[in-house]
């Protein structure tokens, strides 16, 4: 892509379609939102209500299964930072934040934005803004993740 040598617009769009069709299958078939933070909390028994446990478990288990199937056919990268402390702190904040805000990139971002849900539009705008602000502040402070 001109100006952005590392961007993958085509693969990104195709993969995005797969994600959207997966969420549509969940909604039209089971009547449920394919929100990963909610499903994950349900699997752990940490949510009130939500999808039936087996449904949440199989959706969650499908995520690495699908990634493995994709990796068997195309190149799949997963570049993590080296700091284990940073990974743990990030996971902790994501765990609290997604439950408090009742959703993440899948529930609010994909399922909510496509529904034009006011809550999801506000949530997505907020997590994009604080995400960009954090990365920019880290860059200004010279902290490399």
């Amino acid at each position: 892509m001109p100006g952005f040598p590392h961007a993958m617009p085509f693969a990104g769009f195709i993969g995005g379609l797969m994600i959207g069709v997966a969420a549509a299958i969940m909604l039209l078939g089971n009547g449920r939102i394919a929100g990963v933070s909610g499903m994950f909390a349900r699997v752990l028994g940490l949510s009130e209500g939500g999808a039936p446990w087996m449904m949440a478990l199989l959706f969650t288990a499908g995520l690495p299964l699908g990634a493995a199937l994709a990796a068997a056919n195309v190149d799949v990268e997963a570049r993590f930072p080296t700091s284990l402390g940073l990974i743990a702190v990030a996971g902790l904040i994501v765990g609290i934040g997604t439950r408090l805000g009742a959703g993440c990139t899948s529930g609010h971002g994909v399922c909510g934005l496509s529904r034009l849900s006011p809550r999801s539009i506000v949530a997505t705008g907020t997590f994009m803004a604080t995400g960009i602000a954090t990365v920019t502040l880290m860059r200004l402070a010279g902290v490399v993740s």
Partner: protein, 141 residues
């Protein structure tokens, strides 16, 4: 049974889509948030691709009384916008940006880089437990 099987199909396709789109790669996702650095717009194309079929799905939902395999749609309320929503989303954005990982890609990445993915997921579980036991208002009887 059929609902559970469909969940597995949905999760598997979702995970494959995350991998194909590059969203399982924390460095790439973080680069989308790095607007002052080497910005990578890939995530915007992923969102566009994902929202398209879901927008059609929501139009179909409006014309149906029930989903294909269940008695009713369980769709969350779209309002009100409260302090918990804003505070939670703000926190999530900070945690997301530190590494470039949100819940879906973290769980999917178990298949690619199991050790760091598991660490992130364990910390995420602890965060969800803290929310459940310390930040959830008790229901009045």
């Amino acid at each position: 049974m059929r609902q559970s099987l469909l969940s597995l199909v949905s999760g598997t396709l979702f995970g494959a889509g995350l991998a194909v789109s590059g969203m399982i790669d924390p460095a790439r996702v973080r680069a989308f948030l790095d607007v002052a650095g080497a910005w990578d717009p890939t995530l915007a194309f992923v969102m566009a691709g994902a929202i398209l079929p879901m927008a059609i799905a929501w139009l179909i939902v409006r014309r149906r009384a029930a989903p294909i395999l269940a008695e009713q749609f369980h769709t969350p309320a779209t309002s009100p916008i409260d302090a918990r929503l804003i505070a939670g989303a703000a926190l999530f954005g900070i945690g997301w940006s530190l590494v470039g990982l949100c819940p879906g890609p973290a769980i999917a990445a178990l298949a690619i880089k199991p050790a760091p993915a598991l660490l992130f997921i364990a910390a995420m579980a602890l965060g969800a437990a803290i929310h459940r036991f310390a930040l959830t208002p008790r229901r009045s009887a």
